[in-house]
């Protein structure tokens, strides 16, 4: 309850439209020239000093991308993006030589992450009040600026580093897995990402290892007119386990910014990856000016038998969200889970959901989606559950609930179910409800303000999903939910 109260206090403390993370870091950047062509792709590859195979991989993707059409099937509406009017690479100038330790990291950058509440100094984390350790990889525009606790992780055999570094330090792993879950040809945005991806995190958990701490990547877009194209690759070898958190923010800017990321997860036999996201990109102002276009491809491949991948997402930001974290259930008895809270307010547009592709025998999946629409926003759940003809005994349970606040928002549910195996059992439940005047009156009659009442009701609505988040994240998410809904009452 303290969280609800605190939330409300925080909501009251900020102005309408005040996006807490909207500040800009004043730092000198080095950018690639505007626009996109083969030279830019080569420029990015050269910046990262990449081996030839990767440069060619990128160029292949770029040539493929030129032949593709931007998808239009999602229930989102935005002006055509001029891909030649964007910067595809931006790095803080001070990163040019590459800091060897945190002491060499530009203090302005450290301050930025401090302001965001992301501690990058290990000794401060160790000395601080934080109860559990979280290793952080901080990605600023196109580069990773710091990765913490690497030494400690290395002792356990865990590799956690920027992907640009993994290309050099673990080329065999990168070469083996990169693009193996989301192929270069997958879709318009993923193909674009393959051509121009700049940085992101790389994680490898060796066989039988339970990662000793939560791993986390924190993405920040700072530069104007710059797209962020990060690439994350996580491999959990046989019998291993890792919990990974992802957070994102961006400055408040009038123009739209593009974020087209690719995340690939691979689990081998008996391995498990738990991937949690709290997405809080700048959503634009109340009239819909500015904000991030978040076009993201996230997919996990349960390659080994009895392996498991679980996606949990709290989506509160972005002007447009186009995102379907999915699971390919290849291994026998493998399991996929998707827990989602998607909140839209103002003029935000969300088209999000998941795909559970059952290929192996006795594979199971579970989808719990909670959509909350307020203001003049539109919120669509789009999900696909399919069973291959060999997927004997496949089971899925889907539950999609939508909650409407006010009269001008929309909620839509678009499920696709496809079964080629007669023994597959798929269940789908969906509800749409409104926070009723009666509920609000009941709560205010007990002394709660309307904001408190709304926060309480919404937190109740999303409880099943919040319970899936790691503790610290759950508290943060609860606060974020109330802040996102600010101004939706009355």
């Amino acid at each position: 309850m303290a969280a609800v109260k605190e939330t409300v206090d925080r909501v009251k403390a900020i102005d309408v439209d005040a996006y807490k993370y909207g500040f800009v870091t004043d730092i000198e950047s080095e950018k690639a020239p505007k626009g996109l062509n083969e030279d830019i792709v080569r420029f990015i590859s050269a910046k990262k000093n990449e081996p030839e195979w990767l440069t060619e991989w990128r160029l292949d993707a770029f040539r493929r991308w030129l032949t593709m059409e931007e998808p239009t099937w999602a229930r989102v509406d935005y002006p055509r993006i001029d891909y030649q009017d964007l910067y595809y690479y931006s790095a803080p100038k001070s990163m040019d030589d590459g800091p060897k330790s945190l002491d060499e990291v530009d203090p302005e950058l450290l301050r930025t992450y401090e302001k965001l509440g992301i501690p990058l100094r290990e000794q401060e984390i160790l000395a601080g009040v934080q109860t559990s350790k979280v290793a952080v990889d901080a990605v600023f525009d196109s580069v990773s600026v710091a990765t913490t606790f690497r030494a400690e992780l290395a002792k356990a055999g865990v590799i956690f580093c920027p992907i640009s570094e993994a290309v050099h330090s673990h080329p065999e792993l990168v070469k083996k897995y990169l693009g193996s879950v989301v192929p270069v040809t997958d879709n318009y945005f993923a193909t674009l990402n393959s051509a121009v991806f700049s940085d992101g995190s790389f994680v490898y958990i060796p066989p039988g290892v339970r990662c000793p701490m939560e791993l986390s990547t924190y993405f920040r877009i700072n530069e104007r007119n710059t797209g962020q194209f990060e690439r994350t690759l996580i491999i959990a070898d046989a019998g291993s386990y890792v919990s990974y958190l992802e957070g994102c923010t961006a400055p408040q800017r009038d123009e739209n910014q593009l974020h087209a990321a690719v995340v690939e997860l691979v689990t081998h036999e008996d391995a498990e990856i738990k991937y949690s996201t709290v997405q809080n990109w700048y959503p634009g102002d109340a009239e819909g000016k500015g904000g991030i276009y978040n076009f993201v491809t996230k997919r996990g491949d349960c390659r080994g038998d009895r392996s498991k991948i679980s996606w949990t997402q709290v989506e509160t930001g972005s002007a447009i969200t186009w995102k379907y974290p999915s699971c390919i259930l290849r291994g026998e008895a493998s399991r996929g889970e998707f827990y989602s809270i998607a909140i839209s307010n103002g003029r935000q547009q969300v088209d999000s959901g998941t795909k559970m592709i059952h290929l192996g025998k006795n594979t199971t999946s579970r989808i719990i989606s909670k959509g909350i629409s307020a203001g003049k926003s539109n919120n669509t759940y789009r999900g696909q559950v399919s069973a291959h003809r060999k997927a004997t005994g496949a089971r899925n349970f889907t539950n999609c609930d939508s909650l409407l606040i006010g009269h001008d928002c929309g909620a839509h549910t678009v499920p696709y179910i496809e079964s080629k195996n007669a023994s597959a059992v798929f269940e789908h439940e969906a509800t749409t409800s409104k926070i009723s005047e009666d509920q609000l009156f009941y709560c205010t009659q007990r002394g709660l303000s309307e904001e408190e009442a709304t926060a309480l009701i919404v937190n109740g609505f999303v409880r099943d999903v919040l319970q899936q988040l790691p503790m610290e994240f759950a508290v943060e998410a609860q606060k974020l939910i109330a802040i996102s809904l600010e101004g939706s009452v009355g």
Partner: protein
């Protein structure tokens, strides 16, 4: 003391309360009886501050302050409590969580400190025990899947915890069997105090066997048609409301 003065209320252009006057003194238990559709529930909603009602004229004074100018939250914090005829369900919010939110909100509004969790739990368990509200019920989402009787007991539990100046019971007896009725009535009686008054809205005399009123008001056609002592309720039980609705016309 609660004073309702010349209250005119309409909903969607339809007149519901038509110059209603009512005074409930400190410590008094006033029963309001009357046929269906005569505006009893409207009166309780208007006092508690529900929107959608158009107050055309009149005042509602709580200790001399016109509460019609306050919103529902402020009225609750000023000591108005309404036990709902149909308590609302709040899915996903544990009853204990809800109780704490309400208690803390009122404590803050009155400039008092919030209760520490152990003290709060103790207080709730004590009050819940008296009303036969079990631990499992406190853990369940508020009112979700509760029986009619459980919901009413939960209303009284909230009233016991919030300690209002005026408790309004809107048809609290509806849907209760005789055992549940007794538990609820005992709960209310335990809360009777010199500085707390009650407005007991009911259709039947039955509840008043257990909660003995000081005064009985008969309401008809949007106003108080007759006022008397407990004997008035007994009279109604025999003769019905026809005479009074006639009288009021």
């Amino acid at each position: 003391m609660l004073e309702v003065k010349n209250l005119h209320v309409s909903v969607g252009g339809r007149k519901i309360l038509d110059g209603l006057n009512l005074t409930v003194k400190d410590g008094e238990v006033a029963a309001i009886m009357g046929p269906n559709g005569t505006g009893k529930s409207t009166l309780s909603y208007v006092i508690a501050g529900r929107e959608d009602y158009e107050v055309e004229e009149g005042e509602v004074l709580l200790d001399g302050v016109n509460i019609l100018e306050m919103d529902a939250t402020e009225r609750a914090n000023a000591g108005v409590f309404l036990a709902f005829q149909y308590p609302l369900e709040i899915p996903g919010v544990a009853t204990m969580t809800f109780l704490k939110a309400a208690l803390n909100a009122q404590a803050r509004a009155r400039g008092q400190g919030e209760l520490q969790t152990p003290d709060f739990m103790k207080k709730v368990r004590e009050a819940a025990g008296k009303l036969g509200v079990g631990q499992d019920m406190l853990k369940r989402p508020l009112n979700v899947g509760f029986s009619g009787g459980e919901k009413k007991r939960m209303e009284i539990l909230q009233m016991a915890l919030l300690q209002p100046k005026i408790g309004i019971l809107d048809e609290t007896d509806s849907g209760l069997d005789i055992d549940a009725l007794r538990i609820v009535a005992d709960g209310v009686n335990a809360l009777r105090a010199k500085d707390r008054s009650f407005l007991v809205i009911t259709h039947y005399q039955r509840l008043l066997d257990y909660i003995k009123p000081d005064t009985v008001h008969v309401m008809a056609k949007g106003k108080i048609a007759r006022t008397g002592g407990p004997e008035l309720a007994l009279e109604l039980e025999k003769s019905g409301y026809a005479a009074f609705t006639g009288e009021a016309a």
